[in-house]
Amino acid sequence: MREEPAYTEFHPRWLRHPTSTYWWLQRRAYFVFVLREMTSVFVAWSTMYLLLLVRAVTRGDAAYQEFLDWSTGPGVLLLNVVTLGFVLFHAITWFNLAPQALVVKVGRITVPGFLIAASNFAAWMVVSALVAWLLLGRS
């Protein structure tokens, strides 16, 4: 805690504004930041959803089909649409912030931030394509 001075005529009371619980609503940048942090909840849900999928697959084809049907229900579908939006937001903000955290030097030249972000996005596309290739066209 900051040391509290003794208040005198020549050192009167300072005014302190406490930070409101709704500080994150006061500026657009803060709100977007909190949204970015909330993507963590949807990352956790995605993990749970994929684990439920693994469980259904283990129980056989009937359970697997039932799981896919369950996913078309309005509640789950809506949740997954929202989840997709949030995890995309996570990926985009994460890769855009990478250049600020990673400074890469090749010899004497610092790699420009744009290239670091671009290579992250490229890796994302490659990995996604790989996963899709593994899973598609194998019914």
């Binding site: 930070t19 619980t21 994150w24 909190v34 942090e37 909330m38 993507t39 963590s40 909840v41 990352v43 956790a44 995605s46 993990t47 749970m48 959803y49 994929l50 684990l51 999928l53 693994v54 469980r55 697959v57 283990t58 056989g60 084809d61 697997y64 896919l68 049907d69 996913s71 078309t72 579908l77 997954n80 649409v81 989840t83 997709l84 995890v87 995309l88 996570h90 990926a91 994460w94 890769f95 890796a123 994302w124 990995v127 996604s128 996963v131 899709a132 593994l134 899973l135 598609l136 066209g137 194998r138 019914s139």
Partner: protein, 117 residues
């Protein structure tokens, strides 16, 4: 002293989980959350998935992946609760719920993947 070494480690796990979540979760949720259930694309058969999941690499890798994803989420949620709701004085409870939940979830993941025939 223990506190000093834990925070950097948690941050590393958070970062690793963040990168892996960013790379893998969007495509997985697009396919298994929307495309396959809604029939936009032909879903892989049950046997194909079992083949993929039964490989030891998939079991270990999958468990590790879930651990990192859940730890990433736990770490971020913990700080959001601190800052967003200003309930830092409950930090013992928050840490338990967040990281504890991540550990429990990962244990379940490992169990499920072990049980794949």
């Amino acid at each position: 002293m223990a506190r000093r070494t834990v925070e950097p480690l948690l941050w590393i796990l958070f970062s690793a989980g963040g990168v892996l979540a960013a790379l893998l979760i969007p495509v997985l949720m697009l396919l298994f959350g929307l495309a396959f259930p809604l029939g936009w694309l032909a879903a892989p058969g049950d046997d194909t998935l079992l083949l993929l999941l039964s490989h030891p690499l998939a079991r270990v890798g999958g468990s590790f992946l879930c651990l990192l994803w859940l730890l990433h989420a736990a770490h971020r949620l913990r700080y959001t609760l601190y800052d967003g709701l200003q309930i830092k004085h409950l930090d013992g409870v928050i840490n338990l719920v967040c990281y504890g939940g991540a550990i429990v979830g990962s244990a379940w993941a490992a169990y499920l993947l072990w049980r794949v025939p």
